[in-house]
Structure formats: structure tokens, C-alpha cells
Amino acid sequence: MGAVVEVRGLVNRFGRQTVHRDLDMSVAEGEVFGIVGGSGSGKSVLLRTILGLQQPSAGTVLLGGRDITRMGVAELRAVKAGYGVTFQQGALFSSLTVLQNVQLPMIEHLQLPARALDELALLKLRLVGLGADAARKYPAQLSGGMVKRAALARALALDPQLLFLDEPTSGLDPIGAQAFDELVVYLQRELQLTVVMITHDLDTLFGTCTRVGVLVDGKMVTDTLQGIVHNPQPWIHAYFQGQRAQHREVSHGA
């Protein structure tokens, strides 16, 4: 199994502040990889760099074995069609209906007949648990859970093999978050996806991820769930052994 996402020697600097210093990260095919870190540790910057939205100060980012930091606009556009992303607030286009939101990537990248466009978009919505009546609504008319699901449907629009999720369960109630976790696991299994997610939710982390990368001091510590909880590094220890993590059993992860 090759690495689907590979980051080598990544450095990100903003003025005098260094966010990442010589960061390495590797995600294998079929993994669900969770990225964890404190506020301001550079999780979002890392994601933006991997997505090709931001040029790193140094280092390489390989998606499917190809370096996206040295790519032209056209090449990068093709790479972007190969992955799906959901953003923290959903980032649904507010002037389009849910259906149109899902169709937008298809219209941009493919030439499909109108019926296939409608049916495929509806299929993607059904896949994430949304019905035809939700498809006609505008994002402002949706509940928080529906926004997250609609965003996931849009991320799946081009049948990507690689999925990035930024805080997929933030702002959801525990029941909604649990349902969303199950949905991600289900889709990952059925569609053989590789998933990279940023999350703060320990339940999500233990319920879905196969490996975890923790951002500490601008570098990434990567381990399995069983391994990471016993890591002696103070921040990691505090994160996984703190009050809020106490009631958790490691055994149901991985």
C-alpha cells in the first residue's frame, strides 16, 4: 500500500512565527488518519498546505506520489478534482440550493447530461442521509447536522478516493456527532476511501480513526490509538489522560 498523502520536511513561517518546523506525515491507502493539536498548533495551516491552498515556506507535499508544491495551475486543478474536502463551518455556497451545491463540482469538472447530474447529486445526498426535500433547500434553512451532511455530499461529488474533513463533528450534539462518525466509517468502508480528519472530539477520534498524528511544537507525533495514549510527551499525556478522556476505554478504538 503506497502513501496517499506524504508530507516531508514541511516548514511554515508567518513573519517571525514558525508554525511547522520540519514536519513529516504519511497516510497510507485506506486509513482514517486523525490530526490532533492544541489551538494555534497549525492544524488548519497544515490542512490548507496539503490541499494546495497555501504554499509552504519549505518542504514537499505529495498527493498520490506527486509533489503539489511544484505544480502549475492546470495540474493542481486536476489534483483538486481527485480529493473531497469539508470545511469546519460547512462552507456551503449560500446562494445555491443544497442540490446545486453538490452539482457545482460536477459541472465544473465533468460534462454530464442534465438527468445524470440531477440523479447523481441526489444519490450523493441519499448516501449521506439527506432526502429530496432537503435538496431543494438553501443552506440557511438547514440545521447544523444537515449542513455537515450536505458538505460531505458535496465533497463526494466527484467520487474522490481521498477525503479531508476539518472538524467534522464540531457544533453537533453527541447523538448527531455519533451518527456522523458512523456515516464516515460506513462511507470509508463502502467506498474504500482514505480519510484525513482534523478533530477535537475524542469520541470521533476513538470511534473512527485508525492512526493519529499529534501536532506538538511544530512537528507531528504519529502513532496508533493504543500507542498514542501512552505517549509520555506532556501535552499528549494531558490530552489523552486528562479529566475529559478518563472515562474512555482504548479497546473500542482501532
Partner: protein, 383 residues
């Protein structure tokens, strides 16, 4: 016997047997190849016979599997479901399962679908529009009432005037607007003088260009153009700032803390603009007179001293004040239009754009309407 459809086909080929049809699928079945696969499928003639499919040589993603699913649903022979020799594509089962189950999250309310030319719907639509219009008027009156109340309450409590905030708005709407206001005033005065000189020269009444420029700029153009520029600059800024705060739930947060949004968002902008616009008008008047004077000097060869003499004759004691008195009123209209539109933003960024545009259009409209009313008023008063 090999079917004739096989030639040139990349994705599917049919073989006709006496009792059945064997369909061999190959290649990449995906959303990208869907437009190429569809005509191949459409050209197949199945003739109602039982279908055996071999999909082992093809690769399916979800879109490709949907295409197969869709085709089979439309072409299955009655009573004889298609059968796969070898394993069917896994995505096919996923699609069948997805479409068979009910969505997890039903939308809370179905969007009403009404026929296009339904008389009942037309009456209902008219009624809704009327009610909506009435509610808007109610909301406007409520807004004006709340602003008046906030002004009244604040005038007894000097601490509520929020001088720092007012100062910021005087700076944003006034000081930073000086260059553009000065430039426009100068150019308009030059245009006015030039046009006037061309026409008046025919009567040998060149000297009256001075009257035209001074009276025109001081009474009307100085204040009106300044107000229109400020409506475009600051009316839109007010609406966009407050609208973005609404989208960000900052206005709700203010209310939850127990702070009146009218008092902290509307009043400082209102007062700031009421202070700034008259000052800008004075600058516009001054620059306008300079522009007129310069043009008279260069085009008509009129010495500046003569221009000043003539100008002081032309100007009545009220001319300047008739212009400047309008400025606070215009400022009030611009600020009210901008802030009211901003506070009405709800839901989406599209609403924000719509109401920002509306703020500018309304501000300019009310400024010009008010100017017309002032003109009638001053005529009746003989000034």
C-alpha cells in the same frame, strides 16, 4: 453470433445467445466516462431476453455504478432480473441499499410547490406581498421609533454618546472622504463654469458665470454631490458592517449582553455622519469656488479680484446657509438607510449584498427627494 454493436465499443459489448444476452463490461466506468458510455448503452438492443452480465473486466466508481444501476432498472426483462456471471460491482449493492432506505434526516418542512398559473396561488401571492409590505412599513416605523427613543435617552445621559465611537465614524466617513469630495467638487465647478461661460457669452453676459458658479455650488451642487458621494461610500459601509455583524450573530450577542444594538451601532454612525457631512460640504463649497474662480481666470481672463468682488455681490447672506442646512438632514437619511438595511440582513451572504445595494439606492433616492422638497420650501419662503 456476435452482435453488430460490438464494433468500436469500449465499455460494453453484447453477445446474443438463443435464450439470453450476455453483456460484457470493460474499462473505467466513472463520472468522467459517463457521457461516452451512455450512447453505447443506448445502442444495445436487448429484445426483452434474459440478461447475463460479466463485469469482471470493468472498474466502477459510484457514478459508473449508478449508470449501470439506472440502465438495468430501465431495461430488465419482466420477471427475469439480470444476473451477474462472476461478482457484481460492490458499489451497485451500495446504491441499491442507499436508494431503498429512507433518508435519515427528513427536511423539517417541505418546500411548497405551486403550479405556475394557479389563480388561487396568484391571489395568495398578492396577499403575501401586501402583508409583507405592511410589515416592512411597521418595521421601519419601529426602527425610527427606537432610534428616536435612543437619541432621546442618550441626550440625558452624556456617557451614552460614546464619543470614541462617534470620532471613529467622523474619521471614516468624513476625513477619509475629503480627497474624493474635493476632487469632485472642483471638477463639477469647472464643468458648470465652462458650460455657463459658453452659453452666457452669446449674450455678452460673461460676468454672470460668477453668479452661476457661486450660487449653484453653494446652494445646490456642493451639498448634493457630497451627500451622493457619502451615500455611496458610507451608506454601503454602514449596511455591510452591520450586516456582517448580523450574519456573525454579533448583534444577537449584543442584545444578549443587554446592550441596545441601536444605541451602539446606529447612534454613533448617525451622529458621526451628522457631524461629518456638513464639514465635508464646507470643504466642497470652498474647493468648488476655487475651481470656478480658476476657470474664470484662465478661460475668461477675469482677474481673481474681480471674481471675488462679483461673487460677494452675487451671494446673499442666506446663500451659504441654505446649502449647509440641508447637510445634516441628508446625513440623517443616509445613515438611517444604511443602518436599517444592515440590521435587516438575515441568513446569507446573498442577503448582505442585496441590502448593501439597497442601502445606497435608497440613500441616494431619499437625498434627492429631500433636496426637491427643500427647493420647494425655500421658494415658498422666498430665499
Amino acid at each position: 453470433m456476435t452482435s453488430s454493436h460490438a464494433r468500436g465499443n469500449v465499455y460494453c459489448a453484447a453477445q446474443r445467445r438463443p435464450d439470453r444476452i450476455e453483456l460484457a463490461l470493460s474499462g473505467e466506468w466513472s463520472a468522467a466516462t459517463l457521457p461516452a458510455i451512455q450512447p453505447e448503452l443506448a445502442a444495445l438492443e436487448l429484445g426483452g431476453q434474459r440478461l447475463f452480465i460479466d463485469a469482471s473486466a470493468a472498474r466502477f466508481d459510484l457514478s459508473g455504478a449508478w449508470l449501470l444501476h439506472d440502465y438495468l432498472a430501465g431495461h430488465a426483462a419482466p420477471g427475469a432480473p439480470p444476473e451477474f456471471t462472476g461478482s457484481p460491482p460492490p458499489a451497485l449493492a451500495l446504491i441499491a441499499r442507499t436508494l431503498a432506505t429512507d433518508p435519515v434526516l427528513p427536511a423539517s418542512e417541505a418546500v411548497a410547490q405551486t403550479a405556475w398559473l394557479d389563480p388561487a396561488a396568484a391571489v395568495e401571492g398578492l396577499g403575501r406581498k401586501a402583508v409583507r409590505g405592511w410589515r416592512l412599513i411597521e418595521a421601519l416605523l419601529a426602527f425610527l421609533g427606537r432610534v428616536s427613543y435612543a437619541v432621546g435617552r442618550a441626550s440625558f445621559r452624556p456617557r451614552r454618546w460614546r464619543p470614541i465611537s462617534i470620532t471613529r465614524h467622523v474619521y471614516d466617513t468624513g476625513i477619509t472622504a475629503i480627497p474624493i469630495v474635493a476632487l469632485i467638487a472642483f471638477l463639477i465647478a469647472v464643468i458648470l463654469a465652462y458650460m455657463g461661460a459658453q452659453q452666457l457669452r452669446k449674450f455678452g453676459a460673461d460676468i454672470y458665470v460668477v453668479d452661476l458658479v457661486t450660487v449653484g455650488v453653494l446652494r445646490e451642487l456642493g451639498v448634493l454631490l457630497t451627500a451622493i458621494i457619502v451615500a455611496g461610500r458610507s451608506g454601503s459601509a454602514f449596511a455591510a458592517e452591520i450586516g456582517a455583524m448580523r450574519l456573525n450573530e454579533e448583534v444577537d450577542a449584543l442584545q444578549a449582553i443587554g446592550v441596545d444594538p441601536i444605541e451602539v451601532l446606529v447612534l454613533p454612525r448617525l451622529l458621526g455622519l451628522v457631524i461629518a457631512l456638513p464639514l465635508l460640504t464646507v470643504i466642497a463649497d470652498g474647493i468648488g469656488l476655487v475651481g470656478g474662480g480658476l476657470l474664470c481666470h484662465t478661460l475668461l481672463g477675469m482677474p481673481l479680484a474681480q471674481f471675488l468682488n462679483r461673487a460677494s455681490d452675487a451671494i446673499a447672506s442666506t446663500t451659504f446657509w441654505v446649502g449647509i442646512i440641508k447637510a445634516p438632514v441628508f446625513a440623517l437619511l443616509i445613515a438611517l438607510a444604511g443602518t436599517w438595511c444592515g440590521l435587516r440582513v438575515r441568513g446569507s451572504s446573498r442577503d448582505l449584498g442585496r441590502l448593501t445595494t439597497l442601502a445606497v439606492v435608497q440613500a441616494i433616492f431619499f437625498v434627492i427627494l429631500a433636496d426637491a422638497l427643500f427647493a420647494v420650501l425655500f421658494m415658498e419662503m422666498d430665499i
